[in-house]
Subunit: 348 residues, 2 copies
Amino acid sequence: MSDPLPNAGLFTLRDFSLQVGGVVPEPLLVYQTYGTLNADKSNVILYPTSYGAQHGDIDWVVGPGRILDSSKYFVVIPNMFGNGLSSSPSNLPEVIRGGPPPVFTHVDNVTAQRRMLREVFGIERLALAYGWSMGAQQALHWGALFPECVERIAAVCGTAKTTPHNIVFLEGLRAALMTDPAWNGERFTSKPERGLKAFGRVYAGWAMSQAFYREHLYLTLEYSDLEDFLVRDWEASFLRRDAANLLSMLDTWKRSDISDNDLYRGDLKSALGAIRAKTFIMPSQTDLYFTQEDCLREAQLIPQSEFRPIPSIWGHRAGNPSKHPEDQLFLKNAIADLLCAKQPRPDF
Amino acid sequence: MSDPLPNAGLFTLRDFSLQVGGVVPEPLLVYQTYGTLNADKSNVILYPTSYGAQHGDIDWVVGPGRILDSSKYFVVIPNMFGNGLSSSPSNLPEVIRGGPPPVFTHVDNVTAQRRMLREVFGIERLALAYGWSMGAQQALHWGALFPECVERIAAVCGTAKTTPHNIVFLEGLRAALMTDPAWNGERFTSKPERGLKAFGRVYAGWAMSQAFYREHLYLTLEYSDLEDFLVRDWEASFLRRDAANLLSMLDTWKRSDISDNDLYRGDLKSALGAIRAKTFIMPSQTDLYFTQEDCLREAQLIPQSEFRPIPSIWGHRAGNPSKHPEDQLFLKNAIADLLCAKQPRPDF
């Protein structure tokens, strides 16, 4: 099933039912690997994707000497359903495109990832599940749904269950996109350029903190002024994306809840309490939607957790610090500490 | 010029030029008064309107025994330009509607207000300028532009200069509205219902804090769930408004800067330093766009200021607490303290 390229793969999921509904016959999971799997398969890091991102957007984190060190670890980035590489509205088989779009949940994402790791590589256990934002949500799903398969979790700027305020933020994004003339009430009849730009502008207020803007940090990113930042960074980022895919991933985000499944039946306390991995909960201190208060509340319910907020004014972006070395260093040191930590439970 | 009704008035501004540009021959200022002006005209409270609001939306604050006590004070609510009662895109004379829309600034608002008070009532000095949000911006403009005319200021949840992050929030709102099919690049060709709903949904995430949603306080407002709150409160609020007026007031908000005028020429420190009124700066501790950090920075530059943040999880709405008694009491006590305070400067 794996791609002929050594580091990229396309895994077809046979007999796979989506958790909530909708039919995707044999969904595809596209992944990318970095580094070398060792003989006892004990050096695996899983790094799921974040909202709107494909593996190439987030793999700056991976490399020799980087936050996820591919000279020591075998790092696998699985592309989330809906992101345009794995099964997504944009690449569904023609025969089912006319029907109602499938609904993907993180249960679908992590179930597919686990099958891929097992069937392609024979991997049963992760040394670390690392993720930022929706990636953190997937890492925490691993911890709750497959407790015996995850030794460590680093959940950077993400909660296991999406909070009500976060849902309101997402509803604002969705409404802005669907206001576009190309939305016919069921689907987009053409590329919704206005809507994608509005989506970017709304997002821009949430993704970084008030202090980021107060200190004019966008100027450090080589934008000439605030408007230039909104146009060339935020509008441009989303104009590159497929609108139906953005709605699909947004729905996955909105539904994130590690207890919303047959194992935990809505009992979040039990689900968080079932995580056996050594877990670093790492919000940004200035994140406006995955707030540190919300992350702390979840951390307090995870037995082997440590709360390590990132001291940064980059807001949510502190957790994906491709251009700010201080936050990079903070993450790198934290992951080094976490990987050194012996798993304290006798069953590992 | 004043209306025959005793408490409502319509003041026509002759020979009035807008600060930035655009032509409105003889703009109208509509106001409402409460209580009785005393003989020496020393009991005047000016209470300018906030974004999207008309006097009837915010006058619950005024009344015997309320935050602004109309049994003792003569309270005047001037409607901001753009709000649909005073001169606004929606009520411009037919002859100039086709041209570029006028740009209203708070300098225009407070200049018009001062002329109205003087010419209609012979009022030269305010005992208090009280305002919430854009009303606070106007109150602070009074303090900087007419220092000798304002004894006290209560600036609730507002800054004298709109911050960069606040501008990004506003840009998100504007983009959502202009994404509507009814926007033709210059104006709305019909009522942009989709856009107004999206506007409300985006706004909802900003107006209250994350904690407000975490604690499900919308249920205390008699909404059945989060979606019901978004639809019946936020979408409905903006569906009642005129879209061009919303854009006009948004532009006024974005441009707010008490130093952007001939007196201070961009020197915010001088402008804040020129305020002679005893000033209470009263942000909400959880306001997401007029943050307490930004308010504190301005308070530190106002000579006779006192920083009194509202301890509330209602976010920006803490400053307009029509339905939450604790914040009401906090404001009422603060205003009582402020009105008791003798003006410390000898020149009053």
